[in-house]
């Protein structure tokens, strides 16, 4: 009796394992995986969405999807991707309309790149940011970026090094492949946090199409709670990364006695404090530093201890100057991508008035930067 029961249990367990191999009612070959999503705003009237009501002409979006068609061997570069796009008056509506342009069910669960066209980012991004957070199948660890000239064109670029469609964007935006110091990598939950937070503003990387099959990501866009307000150059984007992350891998150069020394950072650190000055102004004090190794010098001077010391000092001075310029520029835009306001809220214990106080303090913020770059090695040669 007992044996019989055990046997039945074992059989039942094996039967249950049959249920494990499921693709939720739809097999892989009936799904089209969305690898990238791009949203542009459309100004022209002619390309009206068929499903979009004619009433609201001012707000039209073009949604483009990069679809991968599952097939054979992923190591070969034979993977084809198609791009479909649709104009409508809202993103979900456009996606619904797109469903009738493809023969397969759209699957967003692998959609890791979310691009805003530059034009769209300059009008209003709230709809898109709401949509990507609300949809359960779009991951919160997707990468968000602004695309220039349009998101659709950037999505359409197929880089030569790319094996799987849209993988190049994922690799570079997530810094999984390249570790470029110019790429400001932002996850979608992080973007959304900054959109809602009081005392911090979002920043997104800017992806530019340079040639037919080349993408450049080295700039960044600063947002207020609604749209793009300012753009950071490549160098500023790197400084942003330097201030925001620990252990940034990058190199800088410094001029000393007509000789240009380039040094590579092995470790970096950055933190800031808010200090009250005597006149009641708020000082944002950054302390940055790191250990570096000399990478080259243009006149091939033999480096001795004192020279390394001098170069370190000059480098620190240059950092102080550049970072201060950068901070002043950010302050000039009236935005807060580095979260100073949030820090003020975090250290202030009188919670009722802190936001009001910060609003008064912000216009008169002062900045001070203390840099401590130590170039400790001269590389393989002296």
């Amino acid at each position: 009796m007992r044996k019989c029961l055990n046997l039945m249990l074992v059989i039942l367990l094996f039967m249950l394992s049959l249920l494990l191999a499921g693709c939720q009612f739809k097999d892989v070959d009936r799904r089209a995986f969305v690898l990238g999503l791009a949203v542009d705003s459309v100004e022209k009237k002619e390309g009206q969405g068929e499903g979009g009501g004619g009433g609201s002409k001012k707000h039209l979006v073009q949604v483009s999807l990069k679809l991968a068609i599952p097939e054979g061997d992923p190591t070969k570069r034979s993977q084809e991707a198609i791009i479909v796009s649709q104009i409508s008056n809202s993103i979900p509506e456009a996606v619904r309309l797109l469903k009738s342009k493809v023969d397969k069910e759209l699957d967003f669960s692998h959609c890791k790149t979310l691009l805003f066209g530059e034009g769209y980012a300059k009008t209003d991004i709230r709809e898109m940011s709401d949509w990507i957070a609300r949809r359960r199948d779009i991951q919160l660890i997707g990468h968000v970026a602004v695309a220039r000239p349009t998101a659709k064109e950037v999505l359409g670029v197929r880089m030569i090094s790319e094996r799987v469609p849209a993988y190049a964007l994922i690799l570079s935006l997530g810094k999984e492949g390249t570790e470029s110091p110019f790429i400001v990598s932002i996850y979608s939950y992080n973007f959304r946090r900054h959109l809602s937070e009081i005392g911090a503003d979002p920043i997104l990387p800017l992806v530019e199409k340079e040639e037919e099959d080349v993408l450049v990501i080295n700039k960044a866009m600063l947002f207020d709670k609604q749209r793009v307000r300012a753009e950071l150059t490549a160098n500023e984007a790197r400084l942003y990364n330097l201030l925001k992350t620990q252990g940034l891998r990058t190199s800088f150069n410094v001029e000393l006695d007509d000789n240009i020394y380039t040094y590579n950072m092995e470790t970096t650190r950055a933190k800031f404090k808010l200090l009250k000055s005597e006149e009641g102004k708020m000082i944002v004090q950054y302390k940055v530093g790191g250990r570096a190794v000399l990478e080259d010098n243009s006149k091939s001077v033999t480096t001795t201890g004192p020279i390394l010391e001098q170069v370190s000092k000059a480098a620190s001075k240059q950092w102080e100057k550049e970072i201060k310029q950068f901070l002043v520029k950010i302050h000039g835009t009236g935005l807060d991508p580095l979260g100073w306001g949030l820090r003020y809220r975090a250290i202030s214990w009188n919670n009722e008035t802190e936001e009001e106080e910060w609003r008064k303090l912000y216009p008169n913020l002062e900045f001070s930067v203390k840099a401590d770059v130590r170039i400790q090695y001269s590389g393989m040669i002296r």
Partner: protein, 419 residues
């Protein structure tokens, strides 16, 4: 009879499952209105209640709540037991229904909620009829499998460079605010595991757990993590936009080198097993409490002279699951039932088999309304109403807990006076 470590499992599973039972919701809702203070207050309240109840129930070795209440007149004990049965039932049902909601939201939105609920209910009802010991063994296995995964996810969450400690600090600066009852009621939930002793005490031969200080310490840690980590991920304002803040947090964690990149799925399956086991535990207690109403009648009719009341009840529950082979339903009936009861079953088969069948049927008659009510909850509660029900359960639970401790104390006092 089981070792005392199972006591900690009972505590731990309740502490872990708080995410499903809307504790983060209550706390984040009050994050600027004294949630942090209420965490500290509730650690004191929760562990005091826990220690008092544990000490009290250790005076009733091997007895469940119905036996402890045996000294009370039936006018008192029956309403008390029904109140607690309802509370335990609702607790299990809220866990189940909110997990169905999570399943639909994150895993398979195409599925009808009815199917998901029925799937879970089949499992929970079948398992809640097992013997108390078997459930404890299952609990141990679930905990041992899942706690390392939960720990991994937590470590991953805490060491993420994108976790905003400024946002966490901002909420910490709201410490000196008067706590509200709602957040205290929510935060004490994680200590509630001890109330399960009301029935599970039958399985313990002695109840003197060592290292009790671990409970307030770990409870505080769990509460702080529950409350603060989602704030670090979604911001002081954004955290309120999340419906299930911990599931969104799990979705925000990226694991490059472990099983799947989206930690959400690991998290989902961990909490799936944890919440099903919690539902089994709570419904088992509800079932046993309601069954005790009828056992008294049986006792009077058949007038058994041998065996203590606790032995009687445990053998009746195990034999009831034994007889379920003959009834159409349970293939998964427990394999861990004792041989002894099997033998005794054979020896006096003639006079017992009819009674077994009636007790087995009775189990199903008790479970049927529970199942139906849960189905109803699953169908009629939308997101907002479910949240309300979940939060109201938390508010009602705390007085219920106080009532339980007080009544057990009264029973103890009565017995001592009589002795």
């Amino acid at each position: 009879m089981v070792k005392e470590r199972y006591y900690y499992y009972l505590y731990l599973i309740n502490a872990l499952i708080n995410i499903i039972n809307f504790v983060p919701r209550v706390l984040t809702g009050n994050r600027f209105e004294g949630a942090l203070m209420s965490i500290f207050v509730s650690v004191v309240i929760g562990s005091t209640l826990l220690i008092i109840f544990t000490k009290l129930i250790s005076r009733f070795p091997g007895e469940g709540l119905p036996q402890i209440y045996a000294d009370f007149p039936r006018v008192v004990s029956i309403p008390l037991l029904s109140i607690f049965a309802i509370l335990w039932y609702v607790s299990g049902a809220v866990t189940l229904v909110s997990f169905v909601d999570i399943t639909l939201r994150y895993i398979s939105p195409d599925l009808s909620p009815l199917y998901a609920i029925i799937g879970y209910l089949v499992l929970v009802t079948l398992c809640s009829r097992l013997t108390t010991e078997s459930i404890l063994y299952a609990l141990e296995i679930t905990i041992i499998i899942n706690v390392p995964l939960v720990t991994y996810i937590l470590i991953k969450a805490l060491f993420n460079p994108y976790l905003s400690w400024d946002a966490v600090m901002e909420v910490i600066t709201h410490l000196w605010t008067m706590p509200k009852y709602s957040s205290i009621a929510g935060a004490t939930f994680i200590f509630t595991g001890y109330v399960n002793l009301a029935i599970f005490n039958r399985a313990f031969h002695s109840m003197k757990p060592r290292h009790l200080w671990l409970i307030p310490v770990s409870g505080l840690m769990i509460l702080l993590i529950t409350f603060l980590v989602p704030i670090g991920y979604h911001g002081t304002i954004g955290v309120e936009h999340q419906v299930y803040s911990w599931f969104s947090t799990a979705d925000s964690i990226r694991s490059e080198f472990f099983v799947v990149e989206r930690v959400l799925f690991i998290f989902y399956f961990t909490y799936l097993s944890l919440s099903l086991v919690t539902a089994v535990i709570h419904w088992h207690i509800a079932l046993e409490l309601i069954k005790s109403f009828f056992e008294k009648k049986d006792k009077k009719k058949s007038n058994p002279s041998s065996g203590s009341s606790s032995m009687n009840s445990s053998s009746s529950s195990s034999s009831s699951s034994n007889s379920s082979d003959s009834s159409n339903s349970t293939k998964s009936s427990n394999s861990s039932k004792s041989n002894k009861s099997n033998k005794s079953n054979k020896s006096n088969k003639s006079n017992k088999s009819s009674r077994d069948r009636t007790t087995s049927n009775r189990d199903w008659w008790i479970l049927a309304p529970m199942v139906l009510a849960t189905l109803g909850m699953g169908i009629f509660l939308d997101q907002i109403k479910l949240e309300l029900v979940g939060q109201w359960f938390l508010y009602v639970r705390l007085p219920g807990e106080l009532l339980l401790v007080a009544s057990v104390f009264a029973a103890y006092w009565r017995r001592k006076k009589r002795a």
